[in-house]
Structures are given as structure tokens and as C-alpha cells.
């Protein structure tokens, strides 16, 4: 049987963005986690519409810690963008520095979220509104926590002998996921903090 060959020996062993499989994996997880957020918000709104006591139950949450959280989160998009760029350029120095910054930002965000929880005027067991506040904040908090943990491990990794090649692609992928953590916060913020005020 005749056989012709397509030569792939010159192809790279890694790349960035949507060319590589981990990007699509992360993208798929964003889709499914985003669906989880959307359904959580849907459930919250469902009760807001069907429950006649909702306005009384829905004590507005304090704007202080959440405002700080939102501010830091929005600002974090900048170093996150720079990490993506530095990773694509495979600039080890910049990636290390920016990962340190992102780790610090992440820890600050976790601290702010803890303060938020401790200042909530309603407990999860008080009423369904309280349950949803804790559920949605917790759900997003878990996302912050896991991505910060991931960032910390990646930061350590980039300071070892493994900080090379494909690991730049990992750093880029991690930055991609952080955008999801940032973007998913806005609808939650609007629903949890501003909706009860109208």
C-alpha cells in the first residue's frame, strides 16, 4: 500500500492561548462553573419574585468590605494582563515578579472576603435570603481560594528549576482563569449588594 507522510517533527511542543489543550480545559470549566453561578443567581431571583416577605428578609449588606474587594479585584486585572503578556514572551523575571504581586493580591482578597463574612448581618440559617447570601458568597469565595492557591503553587514552581518552557503556558492559563474569577463577581455583586437597595 502506498503511503505518504505529513511531517510534524518541526512543530513546537507547546504554545499559548487557544492553541493548547489546557486552555480548552480551563474554558470548559469556566463554562460549567459559570452555569453554576447563573443557576445560583437564578434561584436567588426566583425566591425574590415568589416570596412575598422578600423585601423584609433581604437586609441590605454593608457596602464597605465588598467595595474594597471589588476595587482590588478590578485592579488585579492589570497585573493579571501583564502576566499573560510576560508569559507569552517567556520573560522569567517579569513572570516571577508579577506572580508574587498576584499572590499578594490574592491573599488580600481572601482577607477581605473573610472580613465580609464576619460582618454579614444575616446568618445562613436565619432565612432563605441568608442561605443564598452565604451560598453565593461562599461559591465565589471558593473560586478565589482555589485560584489563589493555584497561583501560590505556580509562583513557587516558577522559582524552581521547572520555571521554563511549558510552565509559561501554565502561567498564562492561570491568568486566563483569573479573568473568570473577576468577571463572575460582577453579576453576584450587583445581585447581592445592590438589588436589595432598590
Amino acid at each position: 500500500m502506498a503511503r505518504s507522510v505529513i511531517d510534524v517533527s518541526g512543530l513546537p511542543t507547546y504554545a499559548f492561548g487557544s492553541r493548547v489543550t489546557p486552555w480548552w480545559g480551563t474554558f470548559s470549566f469556566c463554562l460549567l462553573e459559570g452555569t453554576g453561578f447563573a443557576l445560583g443567581i437564578g434561584g436567588y431571583l426566583y425566591l425574590a419574585v415568589t416570596n412575598k416577605d422578600w423585601p423584609k428578609d433581604a437586609v441590605p449588606l454593608s457596602l464597605l468590605w465588598s467595595a474594597l474587594f471589588t476595587l482590588v479585584l478590578v485592579i488585579s486585572a492589570l497585573p493579571n494582563f501583564l502576566i499573560k503578556r510576560a508569559a507569552t514572551r517567556e520573560s522569567l523575571r517579569s513572570v516571577r515578579l508579577l506572580l508574587l504581586i498576584m499572590s499578594a493580591v490574592g491573599l488580600v482578597l481572601i482577607g477581605l472576603r473573610i472580613m465580609e463574612f464576619s460582618a454579614l448581618p444575616v446568618r445562613w440559617s436565619d432565612n432563605a435570603y441568608g442561605s443564598f447570601v452565604w451560598l453565593l458568597l461562599g461559591l465565589h469565595g471558593v473560586h478565589v481560594l482555589t485560584d489563589v492557591a493555584d497561583t501560590l503553587v505556580l509562583t513557587v514552581l516558577m522559582f524552581t528549576r521547572h520555571g521554563t518552557g511549558k510552565r509559561f503556558s501554565d502561567a498564562e492559563d492561570n491568568a486566563f482563569y483569573w479573568y473568570f474569577v473577576v468577571l463572575s463577581w460582577f453579576p453576584l455583586y450587583a445581585v447581592l449588594y445592590w438589588l436589595p437597595r432598590f
Partner: protein, 637 residues
């Protein structure tokens, strides 16, 4: 590193002859022996077989539950089992069939076949794949282990609140149920992500979007449905367990909650779930109809568009499970319309298959015979489905045996008949031996008659008013005769599976040798040996048509230039499948097993104390770091 080692390291497939290449690749991609090796394997074929065997064991277990229920119902006023045990039986039967058999068996075939059909060497994220299997296994063992220890959910496979609340159902049964959901959904979601990425990025060069086999298209749509549907049930089951364990108020109307919120979240998942279970069946049918008609499936484009339409529409139907909950009229009208609309793409598929058979030269082997059985039963189930989509009819027969008849026609007809066909069809690929045809035909006779004798009378029983989920009924109702008939049919139907089991065991030992392509099929899984080598293909094929094995003629194009001693595979572009990267596929690892074990421990522990999550998470996190941390410098380049 010595120059000799360096050289060996860089050997490419183009440097070697066929025989040597096969041996070397099989060593590179193989799994180690011994317990650690068995638990570390990342070969999608081995994991796929484990998924399938586990799912079939659960099918048997769920089937035995069904038989006990049928024996109980065979005559009126029976006391073979009491009401309490009966509640546990139908709960375990439904839960097992839906979550531990129906979904995972589709995953099993996807995991085994999709990488072969798209011409790659392993599934994307193979360690996640191994992890998902162990999580599924532990979830199933937890539910059934609990059952053995008398921790038994008894509130139905949908666990409606308020019945499933702590004050009406004390004990740990519903908690085990809710955590089992989390286990199996984690597994299903992981596999879906792997399938999406495998199909989008690991197709053999030249397999453009319009050359993807219909089987693969179907499982791609199937994976997307899972990605959008399963988060609903994970969210719902987490809310239920929090309601029971830490006192949240989501479903408590006295505290601003709503029991119907549970139903909405459950059925937002629950209706797509029907398609999650059914679509792998249609994938099998597309593959089998093409092969045994000796022509590609008629209407490739309408088939793919119908699949995508089914995917979208499946999310617009969930409220038809809630017609009797008192909905606004406009809502009922909308969901009636959408429930009828989904019959259109399903109908398009059926007509395309019939057209294929009509135009082809059908060869009546066991797989095709079971597919013909599928047409009959599934269409009957679809018609009663269109009846149920109408609110007045639904209100009359809600919670009667009419509904039981309907969904068994759809689920068994739509899924189990194609599944048996698929077992006969791919068994030779997996084992290298054909199953016995004569026994296959006997099995079909038993299954088809047994199924209809069991479930057709249930339509009538439902119309006569027999409610679901009653453990017995008085003789005066006159339901005894039809129930006895249904129970006799159930025994026949059950026997057909025992016959299949015997056929599988006997054929695996001494069936006729199959060779690479015993059916003369056209897709790539038949281009490799039976069973396939660990590397799947010695040389990655290049695809130039939608039926590569029928159209390649004497000219065979392959990929060259991959390393032989490393696990390299070709990543291609999204639409045109142009070769883009030589990506390294992860090697076997014990960490996914350990991570799954720790995850299971944390989940089970959380049923007893919320602190299990707090203490379990760092352990799981450490294991995940060990899993992902590069072990050698070479992995980074």
C-alpha cells in the same frame, strides 16, 4: 546524559520499521504491572473498560431491585416486601439506573471510543480521566455500602423536599443520596471536559468538522449538555445536604424558601438528563446503521443540526415535569410547545436512519437487529411522550403507571437496546473476539418480547388509575392480571441480560477471532488492531474523507516525526484539523487515585461533620499539587 541515551531519546517514528515501531511505542504508552501500576494507569481504553464493567455491575444490581419489586407487585395484597423496603427499592433502582448506570455507561463508551475514532493516542487530560473513574466508583460504593449497612435513601430518585427534609426523613439516607450525586456528577463533568477537548483539539490531521463521525458529534453535543446541566444538580444536592446538615432554609416556605425551587433545579438538570442518557444511544445507532447498511448515514448535515437542536431544546422542557404544581398558564403553554418541538429533530434523526437502511443493503447481524428493536420501542415511547406533553393528559395520568411505561419505553428503548447493540458491535474491538450470533438473536427475542410484555400493560394500568410508588394494591381494583403479566415479562427481560452475560464471558474465551475490522466498518477505531495497542495507532492516520476506511483506496496518508520514546500526540487546529503542536500526554501516576480517595473521604466525612471539608480540603490540595508538579526537567520543554 550520554550521547547514546540522547540519541535513543530523540528517535522519531519515521526512523523505524513497522514492527520495531509497534514494540517501542507499546512500551512508551503501556501501563505498569502490579497494584500500583493498575491504579496508576491513564490508558483511556483501560479506564473505559473499567467504567463499562462497573456500570454493568450497577445495571445488574438495579435490575435485581426491579425484579424484587415486580415479584412484590405480581399479585394483589402481597407482603413479600413491606412498604418501607419497597420505598428503598424504588429509590435505589431509579438512582442506580440513572446515576450509576445510565450516565456512566455513556461515558464508558465515550472514553473508550472517541480517542480511537478521532485518531489520537489518548484522551485529553488522561489523569483527570483516571480520577473521574475512581470518584465514580467510590460514589457508587458509598451508596451501596450504605444500603448494605441499612443507611437507605427512600424518598425517590429525585429526593423531593419537603419529604427529603430532616424533619420528615431523619437518618442519613438522603445525605448519602445527595453526596453520591456530587461524586457521580464530578466524574461526568470531568469526562465531558475531556471529550470536548479531545474532539476539538486532538483530531487526526485532515478530520475537518464535516468529517467528524456522527458518533463523535453526538458525544460532543452530549458533553456540552452535561456541562450545562450537571451544575444544576450539584448545586441542588449541595443545597439539600446543607439544609439537612447545617440548617439552611432554601426550601423552607416558613423562612422565605420554596420547595418548588428544588423541583426547578432538579428538573433543569433532570430533563437534559434524559438526553444525556439517550444521546449515546443515538451515537451507537448512527455508527451501527452506517456499517450494516454499507453506506454513510443519509443526511449528515441535518443529523448534526438535529443533534445541536436537541441539545438546545433539552433545556427548554424541564417544567413539563411540574405541570401539576400549579404553573401560570403561559408557562404551561410554553413548555407544552417546546416539549412537542423536540420531537421534530428526533424525528429527523429517525427518518435519516430509515433512509440509510432503505438505500443501503442492510445486513441483519445482532447489532442491527437490536437497533431495529430500538426504532420500534423508542418511537412508541416518543409518541406517549407527545401525549404527556399535553397538560390535560399529563394532569390525568400524572404519577400513574402510564408515566412509568412512557419513560421505560424511552430510556430502555432509546438507550438500553442501542447499548446491547453497541456491546455486540464493539466487543470484537475490545476483546479481539466476536460474540455468538445465535445467542445474540435469542437474546433479542427474549429482550424484545420480555420488554413489551413488562411495560406495555403499564400503559393500561396507568389509564386504569394505578398510581406509581405503591408497594401493593387491593384485589378489588382488578389490576392483578396485568401486573402478573408485567412481572412475567420482567423475568424474561432479566433473563435476556443473563444470556448476554453468558455470551460475553464465553465469547471472550473462545469466540471467533475478529481481526481488525470484522464488520467492514468505515471509522478509525477499526483501522487498528483488536484489541488496540496501548498507543492506539502505530502511525497517526491523516483523514481525507468522512468514511476513511471506505474511501482511502490504496493510498494511505500518515503523520511522521513524532518521538517514539515519549508520549507525544498531535494537537490540531479547531476547524480544519491542521497539525499544530506535538503535545506531551501525561504519563501514568498514582496521585489521581490518591486524590480521588481523599476526595471521597472528605465527601463521606462531610455527611457526619462539616469540618470534614475543612480538614479534607488541604489534604486534597496537597495531593493535587503532587499530581501536577513536574517530576522531571524534560516535562517542561
Amino acid at each position: 546524559m550520554s550521547p547514546a541515551v540522547e540519541e535513543r531519546h530523540e528517535t522519531r517514528d519515521t526512523d523505524l520499521g513497522d514492527e520495531e515501531l509497534r514494540v517501542r511505542l507499546s512500551k512508551t504508552w503501556g501501563s505498569a504491572r502490579g497494584l500500583i501500576g493498575i491504579l496508576s494507569t491513564v490508558d483511556h481504553k483501560i479506564i473505559g473498560i473499567r467504567y463499562a464493567v462497573t456500570a454493568f455491575v450497577f445495571l445488574l444490581a438495579g435490575g435485581i431491585m426491579a425484579i424484587i419489586m415486580r415479584l412484590q407487585l405480581a399479585r394483589p395484597d402481597s407482603h413479600l416486601v413491606d412498604a418501607e423496603l419497597y420505598n428503598q427499592l424504588f429509590t435505589m433502582h431509579g438512582t442506580t439506573m440513572m446515576f450509576l448506570f445510565g450516565v456512566p455507561v455513556g461515558e464508558a463508551f465515550a472514553v473508550y471510543l472517541v480517542p480511537l475514532m478521532v485518531g489520537t493516542r489518548n484522551i485529553a487530560f488522561p489523569r483527570l480521566n483516571a480520577f473521574s473513574y475512581y470518584v465514580y466508583l467510590f460514589g457508587g460504593l458509598m451508596l451501596w455500602g450504605g444500603f448494605a449497612l441499612s443507611i437507605r435513601p427512600d424518598v425517590g430518585w429525585f429526593s423531593y423536599v419537603p419529604l427529603a427534609n430532616l424533619n420528615f426523613t431523619p437518618g442519613k439516607g438522603p445525605d448519602y443520596w445527595a453526596q453520591m450525586i456530587t461524586f457521580t456528577e464530578v466524574a461526568a463533568l470531568a469526562v465531558s471536559v475531556e471529550i470536548v477537548v479531545t474532539v476539538l483539539k486532538q483530531r487526526a490531521p485532515g478530520m475537518t468538522l464535516d468529517r467528524i463521525p456522527l458518533f463523535v458529534w453526538t458525544l460532543l453535543v452530549h458533553s456540552f449538555i452535561i456541562i450545562f446541566a450537571m451544575p444544576a444538580i450539584m448545586l441542588a444536592s449541595s443545597m439539600l445536604i446543607m439544609e439537612r446538615l447545617v440548617g439552611t432554609q432554601f426550601f423552607n416556605p416558613d423562612a422565605g424558601g420554596d420547595p418548588l425551587l428544588w423541583q426547578h433545579l432538579f428538573w433543569f438538570f433532570g430533563h437534559p438528563e434524559v438526553y444525556i442518557i439517550f444521546l449515546p444511544g443515538t451515537a451507537f445507532v448512527s455508527a451501527i446503521v452506517a456499517t450494516f447498511s454499507r453506506r454513510p448515514v443519509f443526511g449528515y448535515l441535518p443529523m448534526v443540526l438535529s443533534l445541536i437542536a436537541i441539545g438546545f431544546l433539552s433545556f427548554g422542557l424541564w417544567v413539563h415535569h411540574m405541570f401539576v404544581t400549579g404553573l401560570p398558564e403561559i408557562g404551561a403553554a410554553f413548555f407544552t410547545a417546546s416539549s412537542m418541538a423536540i420531537a421534530i429533530p428526533n424525528g429527523v434523526q429517525i427518518f435519516c436512519w430509515i433512509a440509510t437502511l432503505w438505500d443501503g443493503k442492510p445486513v441483519l447481524k445482532t447489532p442491527l437487529i437490536f437497533v431495529l428493536g430500538f426504532f420500534f420501542i423508542f418511537v412508541a415511547g416518543g409518541l406517549s411522550g407527545v401525549m404527556l406533553a399535553s397538560v390535560p393528559i399529563d394532569t390525568q395520568v400524572h404519577d400513574t403507571y402510564f408515566v412509568v411505561a412512557h419513560f421505560h419505553y424511552v430510556l430502555i428503548g432509546g438507550t438500553v437496546f442501542p447499548l446491547v447493540a453497541a456491546v455486540y458491535y464493539w466487543f470484537p474491538k475490545v476483546t479481539g473476539r466476536l460474540m455468538d450470533e445465535r445467542l445474540g438473536k435469542w437474546q433479542f427475542f427474549l429482550a424484545f418480547t420480555g420488554f413489551n410484555i413488562t411495560f406495555f400493560p403499564m400503559h393500561l394500568l396507568g389509564l386504569h388509575g394505578m398510581p406509581r410508588r405503591v408497594y401493593t394494591y387491593p384485589a378489588e381494583t382488578g389490576w392483578g392480571g396485568l401486573n402478573l403479566l408485567a412481572s412475567a415479562g420482567a423475568l424474561l427481560f432479566f433473563a435476556s441480560f443473563l444470556l448476554m452475560l453468558y455470551n460475553m464471558i464465553a465469547s471472550a474465551r473462545s469466540g471467533a477471532l475478529a481481526g481488525d475490522n470484522p464488520w467492514g466498518a468505515d471509522t478509525l477505531e477499526w483501522a487498528t488492531s483488536s484489541p488496540p495497542q496501548p498507543q492506539n495507532f502505530d502511525r497517526i492516520p491523516c483523514v481525507t474523507s468522512g468514511s476513511p476506511l471506505w474511501d482511502q483506496g490504496d493510498h494511505k496518508a500518515v503523520v511522521g516525526g513524532l518521538k517514539v520514546d515519549e508520549r507525544e500526540l498531535v494537537v490540531t487546529s479547531l476547524t480544519e484539523a491542521r497539525p499544530d503542536i506535538r503535545e506531551e500526554s501525561p504519563a501514568p501516576s498514582i496521585w489521581p487515585f490518591l486524590a480521588a480517595f481523599a476526595t471521597a473521604a472528605a465527601f463521606i466525612g462531610s455527611i457526619y461533620t462539616p469540618w470534614a471539608v475543612t480538614w479534607g480540603s488541604p489534604v486534597v490540595a496537597i495531593l493535587l499539587v503532587a499530581w501536577f508538579w513536574p517530576k522531571t526537567i524534560e516535562e517542561n520543554v
